[in-house]
């Protein structure tokens, strides 16, 4: 037994951990500093030289990350709002008010068997959910969340949205065909027929916007609508907005047009043979789709990130914490302490029975609430994009609520009603809307 081995044996658990962790930390720290000195300038220069590519990759990563909480929030809203409309309470067991229910649904999907039907086309079967999922989230890339906060400002953004959104149908057909199940195939064909039919009025309904704005860039569309809520395109294109809402509902396979996977009637349509996380991805895509159609409606017709009215009390945004310099660091150390003691004091004084640690805990919680609120207020005042994001998210989630509300109210339509409505009503009305818009523009001489 060597000296080193004997010394190692004499150490207790904490000692062993320290012996491992401390040298590792030292090495990592020095490595990080060295890397920062030697490699960082090269990386920064390379990134600065290829800014569009870097921006693209960052945008893609951010969008992939953003879709996860979005799907969870929309899924939770759906569970809860539908429950409330059926005078139920909905999920309330897994977490406070069931807020993590959708997350646990995701975990449940993960622990299920990843099933592949006999004689299914394994490659196509595996890639179908990916195609559906990607088709949904790639639309995110051009959605303008706030001034400066969007993946790419394409000059063909509108075309891109509908082109990429139309890819969903490929994924659905892939899933239906590769399952080696005639019912899955029928489900896939039904959903393909539905989505292809509604693609046409959906696209035609926004051509009027292109005529009005003279651009297909979504950012330009939003900027054209800035001002008060009277400048929103929904007042100039009410028919277009209505057609878009209906067709987008069908396009996203939402009630009352959710024949693709009519929960209460058929098994799951094209997704019959899917299980586990592959099935989960279809659902993930569906919830992201709800958000996307709401976000697109807001962008096209409800002014995007623009506020519906001017803020009546203009606040100056000149507060710059950077001016404090080293004082900021000191404040970050001292203010939480003082704040906690300050908020704990009333409880400690007025309630003698309460132990001191409880008073301190309450004080700390209160301080956190106040501090977070203050920081948000400051961000709201100081940054334009926070204001934009606030209004954009507010409008979008209101629309998400309305889509769930529709699902809680309307019964499902029949397949013949669905197709007849698209071809006999929506398409002619969309064409009329387009002609009227064009004629009005000619008459107005713009």
């Amino acid at each position: 037994m060597t000296v080193a081995a004997r010394s190692w044996d004499r150490l207790n658990l904490l000692g062993k951990a320290l012996v491992v962790v401390v040298p590792l930390l030292v090495v990592l720290t020095f490595g990080a500093i060295l890397a920062a000195i030697l490699v960082l300038p090269i990386v920064v220069n390379a990134a600065a030289a290829n800014l569009p590519i870097v921006r693209f990759f960052i945008a893609v990563t951010a969008i992939l990350l953003v879709t996860i909480p979005t799907a969870f929030i929309v899924g939770y809203l759906e569970l809860k709002v539908l429950a409330f409309m059926q005078t139920r309470i909905g999920p309330d067991r897994t977490s406070p008010f069931g807020t993590l229910q959708a997350v646990f649904h995701g975990f449940k999907m993960l622990i299920k068997e990843d099933f592949l039907p006999t004689r299914a086309d394994a490659v196509v079967f595996t890639w179908a959910p990916v195609v559906v999922f990607l088709a949904s989230i790639m639309t995110f890339l051009v959605v303008p969340f706030a001034p400066g906060l969007y993946g790419q400002d394409m000059n063909i953004g509108l075309l891109y949205v509908f082109a990429v959104g139309g890819l969903t149908v490929v994924g659905l057909l892939m899933g239906g065909w590769s399952s080696f199940n005639k019912y899955s195939l029928l489900g896939g064909l039904r959903s393909a027929a539905q989505m292809v039919s509604y693609e046409i009025p959906l696209t035609l309904s926004v051509v009027g916007l292109i005529l009005l704005a003279g651009s297909m860039s979504l950012v330009t569309l939003v900027e054209h609508q800035s001002g008060s809520f009277l400048d929103w395109y929904v007042w100039q294109q009410p028919l277009g907005a209505l057609i878009f809402a209906v067709a987008a509902t069908a396009e996203a396979n939402r009630a009352p047009f959710d024949l693709t996977e009519a929960d209460s009637e058929i098994v799951a349509g094209f997704a019959t043979e899917y299980s586990g996380m592959r099935f989960g991805f279809f659902y993930f895509a569906e919830y992201v789709n709800v958000f996307i159609i709401s976000a697109l409606f807001v962008t096209f017709f409800l002014g995007g990130w623009t506020a519906p009215f001017d803020w009546p009390w203009p606040l100056s945004g000149d507060i710059d914490p950077g001016q404090l310099g080293i004082g900021l660091l000191l404040a970050a150390l001292v203010i939480p302490l003082i704040g906690t003691l300050l908020f704990a004091a009333p409880f400690a004084v007025s309630r003698r029975r309460m132990p001191l640690w409880q008073a301190l805990l309450i004080g700390f919680a209160l301080f956190n609430v106040v501090a977070v609120a203050t920081i948000f207020l400051w961000a709201f005042v100081a940054f334009e994009w926070v204001v934009g994001l606030f209004w954009f998210m507010g409008k979008t989630y209101t629309l998400v609520f309305i889509f769930i509300w529709l699902r809680g109210t309307l019964p499902r339509v029949r397949i013949d009603q669905l197709m007849g409505f698209a071809w006999k009503w929506l398409l002619p009305v969309a064409l009329i809307n387009l002609f009227v818009t064009a004629a009005a523009l000619v008459v107005a001489g713009r």
Partner: protein, 213 residues
């Protein structure tokens, strides 16, 4: 009003929005216990005694008391007369087919007749005619039926129930409360064996003998 397109959608949306703000019907069970009526017994079930026999004696009192006639019985009891089971007709093996037929809209053969020994209904029809199909004269009808068939066949009692309008449960209850009415054929040899087993030479009137059967 109904000519306005989309009005129905608006009305429905208003309804669901009202529901959204209404108090909820859910009872959070482990924390909150529902206000249950004191005589609520939950699900009905048949109990067994310590020997593994059904405690139910097919007295039909529950069936008589049931206000919506949802309790029915069939089969044979512990004395070999009926196999007792109750509840919704769909849960019986021999009734399931019938209810399936009924749902499909086809004519339903009365399984309750074919299940038990078939009888010649001429006699029972004549007896019913003589007694004017009067359920108030049930005892006379039953006695006459027993005279005609030797005992009270289930098919006959079903027929009486059908013709008089009295519940089968009531007819069965009436029959069970009189000693001289019996549900199976008189078996003189078995009765003599029983008397011998008791160790006595019981010779009595036919009425007394009939009590033993």
């Amino acid at each position: 009003m109904t000519m306005i397109p989309g009005l129905g959608i608006v009305k429905g949306m208003a309804l669901t929005l009202r529901r959204f703000f209404e108090p909820k019907a859910t009872i959070r069970y482990p924390e909150v216990v529902a206000d249950i009526p004191p005589r609520f017994r939950g699900r009905l079930q048949l109990l067994y005694d310590e020997y593994g026999n059904l405690k139910c004696e097919t007295c039909f009192q529950c069936a008589q008391a049931c206000p919506i006639e949802c309790i029915d019985m069939g089969g044979f009891d512990t004395k070999g007369r009926y196999h007792v089971h109750w509840g919704a007709a769909e849960t019986y093996g021999e009734r399931r087919e019938e209810s399936a037929l009924r749902r499909s809209g086809r004519p339903v053969p009365d399984e309750s007749y074919s299940h038990f020994a078939a009888i010649d209904t001429a006699a029972i029809d004549r007896i019913l005619e003589e007694h004017d199909h009067d359920p108030a004269r049930m005892l006379e009808i039953l006695e006459a039926t027993q005279d005609a068939y030797g005992y009270l066949p289930v098919a006959a009692m079903k027929r009486i129930s059908f013709a008089t309008g009295a519940w089968y449960a009531q007819i069965y209850g009436t029959a069970t409360s009189y000693d001289h009415l019996r549900f199976s054929e008189a078996n003189e040899a078995a009765a003599d064996d029983y008397v011998a087993a008791l160790g006595g030479s019981l010779t009595g009137t036919p009425a007394e003998r009939s009590r033993l059967h």
